[in-house]
């Protein structure tokens, strides 16, 4: 509401370009007088941001060039940690696991979320409670979600999944989380369960933004629901899908909590992603330099995924 009041007071926004506003404030004598106020307002932010973001970022990169094992002083070894990483078969497996986990979680979450968003657009009001039920899973922390899924993936016949399969195949008992062949899939399902909510909401907003007249016209021309879904909803909700894909890729790359709770990276490191590998190497094996190098690899992956978003933000920063 305050926003609308502010807009009314301002008239339309387009006639106030940022540059002319800056110049006007400048003309009004607010430039050098700004400095003390600006630094005063920013000081706590810059200090905290410096400690929590800038320092760790620089220091992680710096540490990745050092051998920090043992009690002796860290020794500069250049690219040694990276050479070791990429010749370490465990790390190469980790990279593959990360790729599978990130892509599968994203495809499953966004795929289901997108489909459900388009279906609920056929009857937005009647499906509202169902959307809330699915979105609720997104409001549950990964740690708790992981715990919930342990109950479903239990290795004995008391696990819901085993019980459902047991209807067709009596006595079925698969240790989903304890078998290296199924553990990664099980973690992906659990992660995707919580991951569907946001794509559902984003894609639904995208579908809702499509002009109603398009649907009217399509139906008048005799289009079926399926044709409306395929030719209008799917292509026109792509902006929402793109956003959802980006968010879920970022989230899956930095995943830690759910892996920690469900499998701890096991069995035999079959569910260890790069984000978990760095934790294990640095915080449980105390190979800080080695863990830092793995973090830099993770950082590179994150940056590759984020290039469009970063360009967009940087261009928009005025």
């Amino acid at each position: 509401m305050q926003e609308s009041v502010a807009r009314q007071a301002a008239g339309s926004r387009s006639d106030v370009s940022p540059k002319s506003r800056g110049e006007r404030l400048f003309a009004a004598g607010w430039r050098t007088r700004d400095w003390p106020a600006a630094w005063l307002l920013l000081a706590p932010v810059l200090v905290l941001f410096g400690i929590a973001v800038v320092f760790p970022l620089v220091d992680t990169i710096r540490l990745s060039f050092f051998d920090t094992r043992g009690l002796s002083k860290p020794k500069f070894i250049g690219l040694g940690n990276y050479v070791k990483l990429f010749t370490d078969p465990a790390f190469r497996d980790t990279l593959v696991t990360t790729l599978i986990f990130t892509l599968s979680t994203t495809i499953v979450s966004v795929g289901i979320g997108w489909m459900l968003a388009m279906l609920s657009a056929f009857a937005p009001r009647q499906t509202l409670p169902f959307r809330v039920m699915i979105f609720a899973a997104f409001g549950i922390s990964e740690a708790v979600a992981g715990y919930m899924w342990i109950g479903i993936l239990r290795p004995d016949a008391g696990g819901l999944l085993n019980a459902v399969i047991g209807i067709f195949q009596p006595g079925f008992a698969q240790p989903w989380l304890g078998d290296p062949r199924t553990a990664l899939g099980a973690v992906i399902v659990a992660a995707a369960w919580g991951g569907v909510g946001l794509p559902l909401m984003l894609c639904f907003a995208s579908v809702q933004a499509i002009p109603k007249s398009l649907f009217e016209a399509a139906y008048i021309d005799g289009a079926s629901h399926w044709q409306v879904l395929r030719s209008i909803m799917m292509p026109l909700s792509l902006p929402g899908v793109r956003v959802a894909v980006f968010i879920n890729l970022l989230g899956a790359l930095r995943a830690f909590d759910i892996i920690y709770i469900l499998t701890g990276g096991g069995p035999v490191r079959s569910t260890e992603t790069v984000g978990y590998f760095m934790y294990r190497e640095s915080m449980t094996q105390f190979k800080l330099g080695y863990g830092a190098a793995a973090t830099v690899v993770l950082l590179v992956a994150v940056l590759i995924v984020s290039v469009p978003a970063i360009i967009q933000r940087t261009a928009g920063a005025r």
Partner: protein, 273 residues
């Protein structure tokens, strides 16, 4: 949306929604039935007894009550910190002119892509050297510091629609930059500041990695849950109670404010500008 809404999408969504809440029903059922009944599966209904025994015993078994207080204290301080400092910075970036303004802004708003993993090794060493391990500051500083990467973007985005004329007028009336912030801009930007607070509250309440590494004695609920989970004792009933207690506050906040959350999360991830 159209006059003739078909029925099948409603049916499909209903089925999916029911499947989606099964894990939630699972822990609720496990928490209110005796272990003897649920050990062969919480979904079995050959005998059904209601009991609050686990809800009573859990408080003595694990330090859930102090953990709840710890979680709330950490989440509230971190949330208030972010809500106070973010609008000040967003105002300075948007309305004031000072050296390196754009450079600082670009660095801060792009930091949202950084994963938490980048933080943990350097801060672990720093806190160890400063003796801050097991001190609340060890998590509060990164909680608030990391939040600026998305919160400043969110609030500054809102300020782009804020009428510059009002700020100019206050200036012509002789207000100093700080007075303009306090009397004009801040009271009129409460909506985005509030949205920022909700996001920060949920994030800090649910945080696992940082408190797991930097706190030892007074730990928040997710860390307790992780510890319980690692014990392999057959006490699913009490574990489920602990899981419910861990998630009930953020889940309620989330459901009540889901609109702000969706909008905020979208902005936070750089999707909107």
């Amino acid at each position: 949306m159209i006059g003739r809404a078909p029925r099948w999408p409603i049916v499909i969504l209903g089925i999916v929604a029911v499947i989606w809440v099964i894990p939630i029903i699972g822990i609720v059922m496990t928490s209110i039935r005796p272990l003897a009944e649920t050990s062969r599966g919480w979904w079995r209904i050959d005998s059904f007894t209601l009991t609050l025994s686990a809800w009573e015993r859990v408080w003595e078994t694990w330090p859930l009550a102090p953990a709840f207080v710890t979680t709330a204290v950490l989440a509230v301080i971190a949330t208030v910190g972010t809500m106070l400092l973010t609008p000040a910075a967003a105002y300075a970036f948007h309305f004031l002119r000072f050296p390196f303004r754009r450079l600082l802004l670009i660095i801060i708003i792009n930091a949202f892509v950084l994963p938490q993993q980048v933080v943990i090794i350097p801060l672990f060493q720093l806190w160890r050297d400063l003796g801050l391990i097991d001190n609340f500051l060890a998590v509060l500083i990164p909680y608030v510091g990391l939040s600026f990467a998305w919160s400043i973007f969110l609030v500054k985005n809102f300020l782009e629609d804020f009428p510059a004329e009002v700020v100019e007028a206050s200036r012509i009336d002789g207000a100093r930059p700080l007075q303009t912030f306090w009397h004009i801009v801040l009271p009129n930007s409460l909506a985005p500041v509030f949205a920022t607070g909700i996001l920060q509250f949920l994030w800090t309440w649910n945080a696992l990695l940082l408190p797991l590494l930097y706190l030892r004695t007074n730990v928040p609920l997710p860390v307790i849950l992780a510890r319980i989970n690692g014990t392999y004792e057959l006490n699913w009933d009490m574990q489920s109670v602990a899981a419910i207690i861990t998630t009930v506050v953020p889940l309620l906040v989330f459901l009540v404010f889901q609109r702000q959350f969706a909008a905020g999360a979208e902005t936070r991830s750089g999707a909107k500008d």
